[in-house]
Subunit: 328 residues, 2 copies
């Protein structure tokens, strides 16, 4: 009878309750005192009409805030394969949630253009400005930005881990074990990736790059198979994620190599690899701290306060996957 059942607005509720629009608004927001009986009349009218609550879009237009922050994670298909992403996301979500802010995961739409979202702030994780076109749009609109392990960007707060230093410490560990020829399996090009490679090259300037692939078992295993099949010309392989390292260990064993007897393998991140019966030597980064620092910085920015850059320490964890270099 009444067409496509228009959704009632606050104005409908107000007139049904016999109060003014402003009073009805106050009854919902509680921003100014409203008498108990009036509030009840408004709420009853709302229920009777099936009013779904204040329209968020309208509220945001007026208030200029949406209560939602986004986190850009790069391409959906790879962003979540890496177990290192999860503890950080958890921590971010915890801190923001406690502050009453919603968290939105933004997969990189890559090909298609994402419409601009009403966000109070954005975290760019790993994926830097170059791989995220909307960056400029949000920046121009004055949306506070935190860049995690990305290139410096004026106006944005950065959260970093000591990728380069950590990588160098790991390299030195290998050098101490007598390794001279090492190769590395890298992730796809990114800022922390370049830093880590630089750290490795501080100690092994000639380190060979086997190839780059996402942090998932299948890709790493394929690359490792090709490389190791010819008989490794190296005594150690440094990987840029633990998932890759685990894959390399598995592949080396399949080819009859003993780890670490014939080949030392190291990872990065410090995430559990329960399917491996060997503790990896790796560089442990404080994933939850990273998320915590990120969210805290963003909260400060959203509140209009300055947020200093953060650099988090990493720690070498020596496991059972690295050992003395096989003598020539």
């Amino acid at each position: 009878m009444d067409g496509p059942t228009r959704i009632p607005t606050l104005a409908d509720v107000a007139s049904a309750a016999g109060v003014s629009l402003s009073t009805a608004s106050l009854a919902f927001s509680g921003n100014k005192p409203v008498s108990g009986t009036t509030r009840q009349r408004v709420l009853d009218a709302a229920t009777a009409l099936g009013y779904p609550g204040p329209n968020p879009i309208a509220r945001h237009l007026r208030q200029g805030r949406s209560g939602v922050v986004g986190i850009a994670l790069g391409p959906i298909s790879t962003a979540f394969r890496d177990p290192a992403a999860l503890p950080m996301l958890d921590a971010v979500s915890e801190v923001l949630g406690a502050a009453g802010l919603g968290l939105l995961l933004m997969g990189d739409s890559d090909v298609h253009e994402q419409p601009l979202l009403p966000l109070d702030g954005i975290v760019y994780n790993i994926c830097g400005r170059e791989s995220w076109p909307a960056y400029d749009d949000y920046a121009a609109r004055g949306v506070p930005i935190v860049v995690v392990e990305g290139p410096d960007w004026p106006g944005a707060t950065s959260v970093d881990v000591e990728s380069r230093a950590g990588s160098a410490v790991l390299a030195r560990h290998l050098a101490d074990l007598g390794h001279e020829r090492v190769a590395t399996l890298t992730l796809e090009p990114s800022h922390p990736q370049r830093e880590r490679l630089a750290g490795l090259r501080e100690v092994f300037p000639e380190a060979e790059v086997i190839g780059a692939c996402p942090s998932d078992t299948a890709s790493a295993q394929r690359l490792a198979a090709d490389y190791l099949a010819g008989g490794p010309g190296v005594t150690a392989v440094v990987c840029q994620s633990d998932v890759q390292a685990a894959a390399v260990v598995a592949e080396a064993r399949r080819l009859g190599l003993d780890v670490p007897g014939d080949l030392s393998v190291a990872g990065f991140d410090g995430v559990p690899t329960p399917w491996l019966d060997l503790e990896l030597t790796t560089v442990v980064q404080p994933l939850r701290d990273k998320g915590h620092a990120t969210a805290t910085a963003l909260l400060a920015l959203v509140a209009g306060e300055p947020a200093p850059d953060v650099v988090l320490p990493v720690e070498l964890r020596v496991g059972a996957s690295t050992g003395p270099a096989r003598s020539a």
Copy 2:
């Protein structure tokens, strides 16, 4: 000098360009013809002022559409550990992207209340209405909803796979191999979970439930270790994801059991498990088709057209992880 540098609005651009507000709007949207010289004057003025383009919030308020659809995935910390989620997400993102719609991943905030987002449509994946409070809010606001493998819900289009039938086919395969006592490792309670369990019980009414855990290696391995350590009272373990199945295989071997000689293990999903040197017997579900059907249904609903429910077939893939029951 000019305070906190207010972001210019379309009105600023219009007056700078010497045209009316409406003309400036037309120059950006192209919804009605504007002379070339006028358009250029507007665009130049916009550039000069640093105008970041039409404010999306204001546009959405007027148009009633946001160009963004959300997909609810359940708790962040578990939703992405399952490799089965990714191909589906990919497919959804592809179809929606091609239609010019943005995709938003909504991690379940669980504890904290997520502010309502301006969405044109929502996909509830696995997580049903019960685990997603905002469901009712969006439904009340008339947002089109597609429920993937969730309980039926009036007004929402559902996309399902034949979980129950597939599970039953797998069970029959085991029965044919002579298995009589089987146990199952389930995922956390959910709609498809119950269906699959029902399918299994069609054939093995007494099947024992070892326990429920997320689809990640660590959790499954822990459960399997406890169960198998006492000497398995069963000849086959049916898992509800391939990741779990792979973990059970690994754990069984660690305990000296041969798979499938001593124990048959089956999975569900049909995703690659490259770190396992054994092809799993599993129920393959068409993950990409599922995503495709989901996105297509949502597009129809957003366009105001009806979208019929969809049920997708599954297929038993017999691998090398199941074999004849060890005779008593």
